[in-house]
Amino acid sequence: MDINDKNYNLSVEIDKIHLRNPTMLASGILGISQSIFERLYKENVGAVVTKSISVNPMKGYPNPTVISIGGGSYLNAVGLSNPGVDAFSKELSKNKKIPIMISLVGSSEKEFSRMVKVFDSLSILGYEINLSCPHVSKMGMEVGDDPEAVNKIVKTVRMNTTKPISVKVGVGSIDVVELARVAIDAGANIITAINTLRAMTIDIETMMPILSNRVGGLSGTAIKPIGVRCVYEISKNIKAPVIGCGGVSSWQDIIEYMMAGASAVQIGSVLGSNGPKIFNRITKDLKNYVEKKGMKNISEIVGIAHKY
């Protein structure tokens, strides 16, 4: 890469993936439109992850599906609504320069192999397998909580692609480090941690759960210390790059995740209050940080907290 590239000292390597900077768009956030991906790229995002895609289109749950609970935290139960593999491969068909990871969700090996076969000819970085959506039955976390299913699905995806595979883990009812180990042993290259945590909120005036699905996933500020802990524990115990995710809203949060062991960091909910321009602001702030500290490259800090 050109040493004059203004992002040079922010560039990171995650397995075989090279990114101009460590920021990524988290899955499910603005994640269904190539035009939006192009806009985010202009705003300096390092890479984008798509909404989790399933074999068939899914309408998701009725609204309310996304609610702000204050303090920069959110609950969502969108129900993995997505246009399905065929419509979505058309959406991305003209992609050339945007670094895209496709998030996959499904309930059987067959579904995953079908999707990878369709997507693999596109110009994409690789895949993120969503094993951690906490609010859709027979998909996401219900798969992620079953090590045998994880093993089979990751192996299936591995057989169908040479591109890097990340497995997205969450706080479910199996230890996050164990889950990561199963995924890496089955052939995944990267771990993304974490997804939302199962949560709910009840409106006390009407006495009713607010989300139509009643239970959803907690994201945003509230989960940051849990995400940092998971990244720290995974990177301490598993030999694979980790992508951090959960509650990031500033460059300081990115640095904290990287010090805990993340090679790159995804940003989700905070787009709500800040819009796509947050990537531009945060990458500028990161550049300032790296320059002020006199680092050659930001990845010098990856996992540095493990020293202490």
């Binding site: 994640g31 939006i36 289109p57 609204n63 599906t65 996304v66 969108v78 419509a87 409106d203 009407t206």
Partner: protein, 274 residues
């Protein structure tokens, strides 16, 4: 009193007004909505049924606001059927708004159906700023014309500036909004055109304004889940209708491939306007 627009307020419906057999206005108390800007919308929660975006209707009573619903699917029908005393939730107002420049002398407002909701709020703002408005209300047929009295009251200073047209000629002038607008443009000059209504109508209003080199702004609708720029379901080319809109300028819209051509369904698939 909540100051954060994201806080969900539970409000009691204080009054219901039947506009047509399928259109109803619900009045409630909410100070944040009362001061919404023209073009902004609320997310209205019909508990355990749906949450849907609704433009904020004007209500002159201090601290009160309203929404005007056209009954269509599950959510809007449930809301339509709420009675005085029922509870609904709301958050917002969200989105940007029409821009009324102080330098404007005369503006054209063209729309129909519930598209009139943000336009009437705009007209009342214009009136306060002493900007003269010509309002075109278009409908398919007489029974679908509503808000005539409200519109008349707002632009009371000049009766001739309210023009109503129906496709079948059963009320007002025969013809479409765009045909009528074309005529009006020949006879008058305007500083800006403002529109809201069916997208294909708005496409034509925008094109016509662009051709006549008149600034134009349109308020768009897309399928919305979050209303706050997170979920992406409301995308319109590279814009988010909830966060970057709902109001876009003719300049912005003329570069958009989706505008007047396609929208996205609940699952995010792109669907072409027939």
């Amino acid at each position: 009193m909540p100051t954060n627009i994201d806080n969900r307020r539970i409000v009691r419906i204080e009054q219901t007004i039947v506009e047509t057999p399928t259109v109803k206005t619900l009045v409630f108390k909410d100070s944040l909505s009362h001061t919404a800007k023209p073009g902004q919308f609320l997310m209205i929660w019909i508990p355990r049924i749906e949450e849907i975006p609704m433009s904020v209707m004007i209500n002159s009573k201090d601290g009160y606001a309203a929404v005007t619903i056209r009954k269509s699917g599950v959510g809007s029908t449930a809301l339509f059927e709420r009675k005085t005393g029922d509870l609904v939730g709301l958050r917002g107002p969200y989105g940007n708004s029409y821009t009324l420049k102080k330098s404007y002398k005369k503006i054209l407002i063209a729309g129909g159906g519930t598209g009139l909701v943000p336009l009437l709020r705009l007209a009342s703002y214009a009136q306060k700023l002493k900007i003269q408005s010509t309002v075109i209300i278009g409908a398919r047929t007489k029974g679908e014309v509503f808000f005539e009295n409200i519109a008349r009251k707002i632009i009371q200073d000049n009766d001739s500036s309210l023009k109503i047209c129906t496709d079948d000629g059963s009320y007002g002038i025969r013809g479409t909004t765009v045909e009528l607008m074309s005529k009006v443009l020949h006879e008058n000059t305007f500083d800006c055109v403002f529109t809201c209504g069916p997208e294909l109508m708005m496409r034509k209003v925008v094109d016509l304004s662009n051709e006549n080199s008149i600034p134009v702004e349109a308020s768009l609708e897309r399928y919305m889940k979050c209303g706050i720029g997170i979920c992406g379901s409301c995308c319109l080319d590279a814009s988010l209708v909830c966060q970057d809109g709902t109001v876009f300028s003719g300049r912005q819209l003329s570069k958009m491939l989706d505008f007047g051509n396609s929208y996205r369904d609940k699952d995010g698939q792109r669907i072409n306007y027939s």
